[in-house]
Amino acid sequence: MEFRIDDATRERIEAARELGEREFRPAGLAADRAGAPIPVGDPFFDRSIARGEGRTRWRPPGAATPKARSSSSPSVISNMLVAEELAYWDRGVINAAPGPGLPESNVVSMGTPEQKERYLGPFVDPDQPRWACFAMTEPGAGSDAAAIRTLARKDGDGWILNGAKCFIGGASRSDWILVQATLDPTKGRSAQRAFFVEQGTPGLGGFNIEKKMGLKAYESTSFTLDDVRVPAENLLGGEERYQSSAGFKTAMRTFNAGRPIIAANAVGMARAALDETIRFARERDLLGDSRVRDRIESIARKVRKARLVCLRAGWLAQLERPNIIEASMSKAMAAQIAQESTSAGLEILGADGARGDHLIEKLYRDVKAMDIVEGTGQIQRMIIARSLTGLPR
């Protein structure tokens, strides 16, 4: 048993801490005060690109692997700890960052060579900030992804898409959107397909940047697809992939590294609230009060245990061992604890917390999303209970 982290991860965390303090925290606070996402032309993004961020990990055939990427990929644990550290400084800014984002993994694992070239190629060495996004959520389908209604209909040598999507991160600024649609809403996930829809395609429109309670640094956007026609080659993986029974399920595995990452974000936010609470209590000379100390102890203990549960889930994913229960536990627990942590911090702040200008108050608003995205806490419990108690589907 070993709880130490390796030197390479340590260096990554230190770099994330420096970046977070210098860039993420100020950008997140500014966006929160402005009540709007960081604008596309903001110098924040130019600096991000100049630092080499916003690039794809995909390499064109025959291309040399950049020196910085020549060593083995960071482990899941390393990525989780960096995710925790960055979220400590600002979770919303993580989502605002340019790059191929959420759909990158799907394109890398399922895309045809032509699709990788066309859609990831511009992210190999971008000369300006570029975004891409994945559109699954709909007004009537959140955690229940099998219930999406956006319809894909074959039309000659192409496809016609109709539907509406919501809460999609960065949709209005994305070069392309990977849209999840269904051939038949009655057939669940087996009938679902993903399509590349490029910005400017006729029928793609109605972009509306939502007003949110928190995480304001990145845009969450709704849009509509009104008879959007895309060519056959825009079907992720190509037609042939779906002739086999595997279909979209090829992306599903017995282990999950996504939920532990979100959970690690929540741990980082909870830790930020803890530190701010201690700072406030120290400044106000409250640490001599056992009631305050006990609250701080309780927060710290819960954050520590959430971190360990997350790392256990991540460790299993790293070993490619089944971790469905652990991944859901990490997500359910960390999000809830993060909410409790920020709430307890506000109670220690007292009326100062109600002024609306304290970081903990922002964190309290930001962190609620962590119990919603990637499946709510209730959905996570259903997933766990199916394994644990045989709860029927």
Partner: protein
Amino acid sequence: MFDLEAGDELDLVVETARQWAQSELVPSIRDAESARSVAKGLRETWEEVGLGTLELPPMQGGAGLGCVGRVLVNEELAAGDAGQLLALDSSAPIYSAALEIGGEEAVGELLKLTEQGRLRGILVVAEDAARCDVDESTMTLDVPWVAADAADVVAVLTSDSLLVATSGLVFDPVRGAGFRAAGGAGLRVDGAAIVSRWTNAEGAGRAKARVRLHYASVLLGILRATCEFSNAYAQEREAFGKPIGHHQALAFLITDMRMALEAARGLVHEAAWRVDAGLTCSVEAAAAWAECIEIARSIGPNGVQILGGHGFMADYPVEKHMREARALSLLCGGFDAAVEEAGRGLIESSSPLALCSEGGL
């Protein structure tokens, strides 16, 4: 680096403990409780299997598996029956404390006093005593409850010392809220001679951390048994046409119990690892102990709740788990002392959980 695998050797020991507990302890849970004693011959098989001294250095007859080894094995044994475990292994916390405060020399001396573990010893944490007066050569104690009817050696852990007495020990039997297989008594010591003494404030702090982790891992075992038993019951018992575990209210309750257990286990393991790594561990151990107590408050009663009226009856083990988890939680100063100690330690730092801090994460 980060690795939650116990390792092949320890895995084998843990598996041995699991099998031994299930075959030797589980069948006699109620008999041992009624008899206030383990079955005849069990102590001999316990000594043969060698789990009692596994954290001690090999030179002293142990397996050198440290605090991590101890907590992993304790959970397995306590999941079998914590009452019989405390009867068989009451001296283990003394050796753990001695290792931290006086090193191998202290352990050697204690092994002599207990005749290599054959005599029964018990550890008293000073905070658990109604009265604890110590001078240069004698000790006076009044302890409301120890999980033993009698003992040959009493070790007292104070804030800076470990003190041992072997005479003048008076045990007044009490019924005991739990762990009756180990017996139960109030302990009085009136001016008894201190036969051994080690003083080392830092070591005493680490010793207390280790004792807390010892009991925390026993608590984990009890609570795991509750979770496993009540979940299995929920698969079989039907209400309104389906297993009660298929009703979402109970399914979520069982899920939350399991989540709480996993999380507390993580805290215990990390703190135990810190002990073995020689890192600071008092705050982490106090937090782990506090967390185990906190979850015991919910898992214990909820285990009974899942069984409904059956849970209230002594026919099923969950009522025993509930009683024993509560009683064990009162040791080492209980919840409030643990929270106080962890809290005071935490606020020394402006960012107590920052990554890349000393030693571990």
